[in-house]
Amino acid sequence: MKVSMRVNGVDHEHDVEPRTLLVQHLRENLRLTGTHVGCDTSQCGACTIHVNGEAVKACTMFAIQADGAEITTIEGLATNGELHPMQKAFWENHGLQCGYCTPGMIMASVDMLKNNPNPTEEEIRHGLEGNFCRCTGYHNIVKSVKAAAESMQGGA
């Protein structure tokens, strides 16, 4: 079955089996391996990407459901070699250790700030309920999102 989508600004068309999951399509057909698979059961959020601007778990969506969609993955956040403020904030605030959860954390956090540009610590923690991290204890992740919110409000 033909599926076409615009991923990080580039149009792609592929022939896929209907049962191909979106995360599998991105990783295996498009070779965009920044989107990770952690649990494969829609719990951990490692596979979070944006479909038409909304954060979704790419392990629980078929590629064909995204036919005609606009998709952003972690590879598409930086512009002209300049890291997105959220990426910068994770880097500067040690928001990661092993990095496995990081692409999903960052994509979920960007979506959160879109809906709530200035979240409290509690709102950040609730906003990341669908993203698990086994390393950091979340402390520096929350700090990173807070820092990103501040820098993005500052007009960055």
């Binding site: 079955m1 089996e17 209907p18 049962r19 999951l21 599998q24 494969d40 059961t41 829609s42 719990q43 959020g45 979070t48 909304e54 954060a55 979704v56 778990k57 629980t60 969506m61 078929f62 064909i64 459901q65 979920a108 979506d111 959160m112 809906n115 609730h126 906003g127 309920e129 669908g130 993203n131």
Partner: protein, 291 residues
């Protein structure tokens, strides 16, 4: 895990979707947000030969209040409920429920119609719709019919929808003035299904007595459960602590929990007892506040 193979169908209107359901019978399933169905397919709990994706059908995604009813299109996602001004201002029970379902990314996909049509007693909307005395609209080959929520969940993972019917809308009576509601849920970890949860919707008269009350219980039986003995006890009353405790006991007696990985039957009954009392108290406070 990769789900089993299927053929993917994309009708552009409801009658085409119904025709596809008729043609393929029990081999076909509707695909809405996919967040119950795709996990079930991975585990081979469902192996439909045909998936009928209804996301391309326009006009099933809306939240409107008119002529004394809130009407929610079946394809409305949980995130839209959370963001809706009318839900935020007048339907605290619905707002509480949407916020307790899974996590924000799941809520961008999961639909209210799918949450009911799945017939899972662990899902949160069924008990909420019982408390709100909602009904659902089903469309099939012979047109549409309205089904009362009390008749919608006849059995475990079973709904009143016929094989060739699609759930198109949820209808909730608009609450009168001085109404309040609340959804309280205990989960083992964030984003999980309920160990037990209680939905309460009520309104009070000028003296503070309860005029009408609805109480629904989540995941403490093979279907969502209406705590009718507790409802009867409280109707027309201004409950004190003793009466609330009695309501909690009655709701726990109406529940039929089974022991599983979320706890023993006794533990879940104790949860129902406590959550019922808290949900009623919070609903009363909210009703007072909305005068």
């Amino acid at each position: 895990m990769i789900p089993p193979s299927f053929e993917y169908l994309t009708p552009s209107n409801i009658s085409d979707a119904v025709a596809l359901l008729q043609k393929h019978g029990d081999e076909a399933k509707i695909l809405a947000g996919g967040h119950s169905l795709i996990p079930a397919m991975r585990l081979r709990l469902a192996e439909p030969g045909y998936l009928i994706d209804i996301s391309g059908i326009g006009g099933l995604d809306y939240i409107q209040e008119e002529s004394g009813q809130l009407r929610i299109g079946a394809m409305t996602c949980e995130a839209a409920l959370e963001e809706s001004e009318i839900v935020q201002s007048k339907y605290p029970l619905l707002l509480d429920t949407a916020k307790m379902i899974a996590d924000p990314s799941v809520r961008n996909m999961a639909t209210v119609g799918g949450n009911l049509a799945h017939g899972d007693p662990a899902n949160d909307h069924p008990a909420t719709m019982l408390a709100l005395r909602a009904s659902v609209v089903a469309e099939g080959p012979n047109g549409t019919r309205e089904i009362k929520i009390d008749d919608f969940f006849p059995d475990f993972f079973t709904t009143a929808l016929a094989e060739d019917e699609i759930l198109t809308e949820i209808r909730i009576p608009s609450p009168p003035s001085a109404s309040g509601g609340a959804y309280l849920k205990i989960e083992r970890k964030v984003g999980d299904y309920a160990a037990a949860a209680v939905a309460c919707q009520l309104n009070i008269d000028s003296s503070g007595s309860i005029e009408n009350i609805g109480l629904g219980l989540t995941n403490v039986g093979s279907t969502p459960i209406r705590a009718s003995s507790a409802e009867e006890l409280l109707k027309g009353k201004k409950p004190d602590e003793n009466m609330l405790a009695e309501a909690g006991r009655l709701a726990a007696a109406d529940s039929e929990p089974m022991e599983d990985l979320r706890g023993s039957a006794e533990y879940k009954r104790a949860l129902v007892n406590e959550l019922t009392q808290r949900a009623i108290k919070l609903s009363l406070q909210r009703a007072e506040g909305s005068r």
